[in-house]
Symmetry: D3
Subunit: 341 residues, 6 copies
């Protein structure tokens, strides 16, 4: 199976450990973004994984490609163009002090890309599954158009289309509201991934929940999934991630999956010493795509996705640097963290 993931990838610059921004004159540098994180997860699970984005013709773009290639991501469809490379700055947080993300992604090469800049026929050559997120349509009007075009053509070509709704309140600044685009986009989606806030803010489904409350009521998620599936008859399946934020270091983590016929719930993980929670949802998406295509039941696909997402919290950076074995071991119940030697 070949999966193509499409979206923006940014330079990620983080202050070390729990230091505040530039407390030391150094930033840890990597790359990441929702869609590339999924592509890396899939490559790590030995799926043929392709990533499509638009990058500037400079050393940052070159190095970004080099790092994706290291993971075995197929970068042959990446386009180079005018514009800059988006950057996101991040401080770590601890206990009651939240981590903070500052986006500096305006005028990136992909934000400037316009309808017609990407030849979707070429892009979908040999592709079985197309993955997109709610971030790409949020970065610019032209990126929203490109996104809508991408899912429409993918669906026409019979690809499986998955989308992580991924609502980002600090994007969506080009004059259109999220639901105005996302409701159209989701019509072409087979498999949606989201948390409760994403569903509310992107699709206007469900009531405005206090995501900061820490204790989420898992029982209402079946109903929420039903509502989404009812609203979008072309959608086959919606997976919802559940995060209970006890502190910057300690989160509960679980997921559920609704395929119209059944409602599956995963184990619940308590992650008390979070290393880096950025990319946890992307690791879930990557695990879900892998699980749905390679494992023998939706319950197991969900468990694989949740376990993959859980492990991501123990790894610095955006990418989920684990293999199938690591995820399977946890999914099969070994979460004791005993040293392997």
């Amino acid at each position: 199976m070949t999966v193509l993931s499409f979206g923006e990838i940014m330079l990620r610059l983080k202050s070390p450990g729990t230091e505040r921004f530039l407390q030391s004159p150094v930033l840890e540098a990597g790359f990441g973004g929702g869609e590339s994180n999924v592509a890396v997860s899939l490559a790590n699970f030995e799926v043929h994984s392709q990533f499509l984005t638009v990058l500037p013709e400079n050393i940052i773009g070159d190095e970004c490609i080099r790092q994706l290639r290291a993971f075995g991501v197929d970068v042959s469809k990446i386009q180079r163009a005018q514009g800059r490379m988006g950057v996101y700055y991040i401080e770590g947080g601890a206990n009651q002090l939240p981590g903070k993300v500052l986006y500096d992604r305006s005028y990136s090469a992909i934000a400037l890309a316009k309808k017609g800049d990407i030849d979707w026929n070429a892009a979908f050559e040999g592709v079985d599954w197309f993955h997109i997120t709610g971030i790409t349509p949020a970065i610019s009007g032209s990126a929203a158009e490109l996104s809508l075009e991408s899912v429409r053509i993918a669906r026409e070509k019979g690809l499986t289309v998955s989308c992580d709704l991924n609502y980002r309140k600090n994007l969506w600044k080009y004059g259109t509201k999220a639901p105005d685009v996302m409701r159209k986009l989701v019509e072409y989606v087979d498999i949606a991934v989201a948390n409760e806030e994403d569903i509310q803010k992107s699709l206007g489904i469900g009531t405005d929940v206090d995501v900061g409350s820490g204790n989420l009521d898992r029982d209402r998620y079946r109903e929420l999934g039903d509502m989404v599936l009812k609203a979008y008859p072309g959608m086959h399946l919606v997976a919802i991630t559940l995060r209970e934020s006890h502190s910057a270091d300690s989160n509960g983590w679980a997921g559920c999956l609704n395929d119209r016929d059944n409602f599956f719930q995963s184990k619940n993980y308590l992650i008390q010493d979070i290393v880096d929670r950025v990319g946890g949802g992307d690791a879930f998406s990557g695990g879900l795509i892998y699980g749905l295509s390679a494992l023998d039941s939706k319950q197991r696909a969900l468990e694989f996705a949740v376990a993959a997402g859980a492990l991501k919290h123990s790894i610095p950076g955006d990418y989920n640097r684990v293999g199938k074995d690591d995820v399977s071991r946890l999914m099969e119940g070994d979460g004791t963290g005993r040293v392997q030697r």
Copy 2:
């Protein structure tokens, strides 16, 4: 409002992370001390904050000033003189292994400063609030005299005088016992900040508690406050910090405030992944001074102080690198540590 904080500031040298002293041939270097930490907190809360100390004429003193100035602390009253810069070495600790502080502050420029070396009329020019701690009188006999002189004159000039009792058992080595000085000094204090041990060791009030026991009985703090206020009729208010030491990483943290008329208690924070607890009490003092002068109730002032102190535990170094917004968010109830993006 202009606040002047007076005391010693030291070079702080810490082994990285949880490494023992010189396990790696490197020390993390910063500055800190009870009074400067308060000054930095106040500057971060956008109060006009001045710091008065005596520093040697060398590159360490220069750099110390530079770092205070970065935070916006007004350093124009700092004096330069003979003597060295005090140093404190610190190892981090974890779990059952305590962090360790080694003071090398003998013969510092401020310890050598004598009565008359500071022109208090000039020092208090334009100042509304004067802050001192029980550390300064502990470093040398002449510093004790300077401290007594400072509070006496401050009170005469009608300034609000606050004092963090801050008992340090490894100081007080010049031949005088803490209560012999502190009881006199506290007579000129409007607002006292302390923990139970400070009150017992500095003022001889209360019984000798086992501060290491972990579970402190919050109910007896009203009584303790009453005793202090009764002993010092000029004092308007005493604030007591409560720390429950479960391990080097995990502390309970709260505070209470007694203003003769009322006894206020704060929320209780559980801080399970302490980054650096040094300066937690100073962050409380800084928050309290801000809160009492800028917020609309003593309850809110106390909550602001406790929240400020709580956040300090998540930041490396002596200084509380947070703003009013960060403290207010926590004080208003958002302690989930969710990434802000």
Copy 3:
């Protein structure tokens, strides 16, 4: 008292913090191994501690000796020979993600050492106590022969012989099964240290327990000790360490001791923010040897050993960089981790 510890010491190369192997192009470098870790603990407790191994004649061997000497370990009996220095690579782990150890110790100088290469009469000169582990006989056939020879002669000479059974499933690759050697070796042992898995895998005593389950039943350890002591009539005492693996960061830790007459149980420590658990068992052994020879009861010896082992979890690297005071303070009940200043 002079203790001689004998075994392999390796170069230890760890990826920083929780990073995956070579996520950054840097490895933290130190030395370690079960027997040298015991030797360092004993030197830190001011016992005359000797270490015997075979090292290559190169800068790695030189530096290894230098670091042992820094701790005050007597290195005068170390032999230099052909062969390489073993290396072990380690990734840290966090939460549900286990740390991982990769051994690269084949063809090390000590693995190549043959019967006759070590003059045991010279080696045991002035020695009162001999310590060995189940790791040395696991590395090669000739090392197994050397190990058997060592304990036989030590016992003949009237030395106290202690052995940490230390089963390593990724060693024992030279064609012999662990029990075939270990059962012979243990016949010469006075004092055995082990965990439940070691006893099962090395001696075939006890049923195959799921060490990953997290909750170990402490009650059955008396019985297990009884079985071992019954099987090996020359053995005086068996000490069992109990580790409950909740996650890579959080372990329960305790121990018990069976001397045929009595069964002693230690306090139970909950270590929630593990810094480095490698060497925890070695720290226990070092503490036990010290405790049995210097403290006034077996209960106290056990408590010292468990406290020493607990503290090791808070220190990076293989070595337990604590002194007698640190261990005694914890053993006497101060586990609050309050900063000492």
Copy 4:
């Protein structure tokens, strides 16, 4: 004397040492830009130094201000506005391998600032000397207009106006050629600083020299200065820096000064182990402004400027972290680099 320097300041991100971009996943982070570098130099020389720029309202802008304030630069005139913070990436270079700078400064807050956004009457309040460079008019059309406005008003108000021509071939992308703006701007300038290439590319004076040749003919600089002064009758003085690029590590460095009446030449410095040559020219400008206002001859002012510029090559980062004493010592002839103790 109060000097106001105006221009863009950027986040500076450098790969460590001589590593290529992201060879290690870390970037050294600081701030810098031609005009802020001059402001820092002047503050280090104890001149009242102000810096005016437009910064975004985010943590990068906050930290930038904090670092300027540390040096004692007066930041009270800095404006905050929409837009991003410019970034420049830099690789170090060595021997025949050049260092490389990648600008990511489009759409910065200052590039977006328009005529009218800055109240020049307020900006020039209390200012004696105004410094600008050829970089600001190169970043955007509106910045060019602002620049022209600034020098015109400064001249009207009787301020001394200095300008470092500073030609940057990778800027000037908004549709106007450098000479079209710079020729107008220079009409309001009292004191110009430039190298040969700047004069040719910004003003079209002189022939196209091969600046890469390494051996510059110092004799023709008098003539070049005469040509500039003839073309701009309002200009009093032109200072030219001479850099002979032998390799990325080894440069010759000198300067000359033409005040219509006399031609002054400086000593020539050979800098063979360059630490960081970025900011060398800015250090010259800062030294020149200081020298012309505080020293007793133009020859000494020039020597001070050249010595200041020379020292900058030995300090990492954009800023010239030296004081008057350091520069004077070198200017007076002590360039032996003997350890001072």
Copy 5:
């Protein structure tokens, strides 16, 4: 053109900067080896570059592949097998203090590989040019057999065969002398790369020169090339690198090329601030292969190779992280190292 390079790749562990081994408890970690370094150079020059080796099935082998893939090296022919990964340790050196390399490569997976383990028909599928060095036959008897087999079959298949003689006196320990193998191997070689010592020690041609003398007589290299070409009639071309070792930091660097008809000499580079000279010769080989296949004359091919080798001295690590443009710029004469911005 597709080039296949075959040989051992090792984990490279270096003490930071000029520190002695483990002066700090950290090692900089990368990968390298003569043949992989050539493969990376070629990939950087946009040649289709394949690398063939035998790696162990562990995380070190995985990461090695990941890093090669990052550069775009085709790793599809790499085999995984039993054995370890070779390691080489390196200290930097400076001035009169030499850098030091310690090999720990015994029993590596490739050293254990036997005739028949590699299917050369599959390995040479689609390959035009085969590159090998004198290091591979030096590591073990079976590797020597594999090496001889490889060149014989490559020649039979009509591939261009290049070999860097690369004599390593600390290898060749399995009982055969270098010339006994190398003389046979070179009979199948079209293009040989070597320095004077390699030719003397590997082929026994030329007199025993003092390579440490610093001043090499360039005139005698034509004669030396003639002797080699005369001895090996199947060889078309021999390229000789010339290094004048003035100090650990300062080397002269040049090359010459003898193709029976002509003798070409390159420019001479003086590299005075060497960053890392390891891999300089490999960078030459990579440049030569590129140059001979892509440039329009042997003189230009030689100049490209020498310039590529020169630039390597300014880059840390084994790999020559430069592109065609960087090399061409230097080859065309721009060696001034001026910052590019």
Copy 6:
């Protein structure tokens, strides 16, 4: 032969690389001092080397001992007492920018030590050679008395006494001038080591030379040696080091030796990329003591000393981390710095 070296050892804190003090919030930490540096050199040359000092009873003193012990220095004579550990801060310097040392050594344990605190009979037990420097008598009046006592008793006991005059202008602050003490001390010295400035400032012999001039006239050193030997008839030999300071990175380095009968001159080394010149003179002294006792001529002893001193310039930290082989190789002429592999 057993050598006892006596003096102060300090904590050494250096800003990384060429950074200014606290440019990054980190200091590289080690230990050093003239006499301990000699002791380490001797231990590295496999001489039985003892070090005597007075250290405080704290973790800094403990770690200092640990690091000396690592080198094999015999630390059994070190005394522990009241007082602090001296610290020296150092910035690196480059090119024309000098490195800077800031001493913070007042009130150190050894500065407070008084006559009678050291039992010289015990200290000299088993000692053949006693080494002292002009630094110890400079730190306090009581240390001067101790120093005089030490050499007097050493001479009485028939030990060889060597002294590095080592003038430090920022010490000698307790009210006595250097020559008043040093002239007495030198009367008991067999072998003096010095540079021209030391002789002038400590003994008042020779004219006031400009040590900063860079070009020292080697011819006048015979005469200077003659003058010293004439003034001190008990002295057998004076060795003078010659340093030509071209820049902070580039020094000429040589030595000469005058034994009344002959004048020996060494080779001259040009060290162009100095890593750390602190301890160069101490490395010379260590080499000289070794050479005079172990080599077969004074010329060779001098050459060994100068070569040892030269190599020190290539190693970070105070200690000369080289062995006899390294020094001999250079002394025999191999200064090409070629990588050894």
